[in-house]
Amino acid sequence: MTEQELKIQERKAAHSGGETTKNEAYFAPQVDIFETDTDVIVIADMPGVTTDGVDLSLEDNVLTIQGHRVLAKQPGRVLLEEYESGHYLRRFTVAETIDQDKIDASLADGVLRVRLPKTGPAQPKRIEVKLG
């Protein structure tokens, strides 16, 4: 099997609603989202972000992933500039009910992995009807 060649993916700017005062770009990271029996897993590409730069929140079923990075001033003179560095921002509406307290996230090689554990399906409650 021949291996697939990686291609350059277009970068989409992300908007947090309203412009930011700082002239720093936000991009929407590429993500993989999948679901197992117990969890929803979100994987996001965020090169350059360290663990303290990651900001995760889940409010009203909206998962917000933010990655802030230290945007170092470019050294010297630019000879070639094919990509732009920026922060990362992306939001998702999560349909499943998530156990907020058990969310965990890890970061390796610039890739963030968030595990959102699903709460067990609500047990249907059977209501006995008695003859009156």
Binding site: E3, Q4, E5, T36, M46, P47, V78, Y83, D109, G110
Partner: protein, 152 residues
């Protein structure tokens, strides 16, 4: 700071080549002023690279999320820097169902000709949080050197 290397100019002045040079210069001008901050020069081959020049070194950076240091290979031959590597997709259990699948996996290979001679013995590369930074020291022949001016 703009400076023109003598080597950039043809030895024989071909009038058409001169037009071509002007055209390229204008292209470059329009690129720097019109596209500033967006597309920049579009890369066709993964990964996209940024190259910076300092007085004594060249710095090449690339964003390589998910690529492990052991899966990345860098080599230099003369003035050609080659980056090769691959990104593996973590094998998931067959029971999972994908909602979104945007991250690609696969191999990449890119060779780039450096604009300046570098010292092949002094090259440093580090991969940190998915960002590759290659520092190449310029060959001593092209490193700027202070020239003492003495009064007689």
């Amino acid at each position: 700071m703009a400076f023109i290397r003598f080597a950039d100019r043809p030895a024989f002045r071909n009038p058409w080549a001169e037009f071509e040079r002007i055209r390229q210069g204008l292209d470059e001008l329009s690129r720097t002023y019109v596209d500033k901050g967006k597309g920049q020069s579009r890369a066709n081959v993964y990964p996209a690279l940024n190259i910076y020049e300092e007085s004594d070194r060249l710095i090449v950076t690339a964003e390589l999320p998910g690529v492990k240091a052991q899966d990345l290979e860098l080599s230099i031959e003369g003035e050609t820097l080659t980056l090769q590597g691959r990104r593996d997709r973590k094998q998931q259990d067959p029971g999972v169902s994908y909602h979104r699948r945007e991250i690609e996996s696969g191999s990449f290979s890119r060779a780039i000709t450096l604009p300046i001679k570098v010292d092949v013995e002094q090259i440093g590369a580090k991969l940190n949080n998915g960002i590759l930074t290659v520092t190449l020291m310029k060959a001593s022949a092209v490193t700027p050197r202070q020239i003492k001016v003495s009064a007689e």
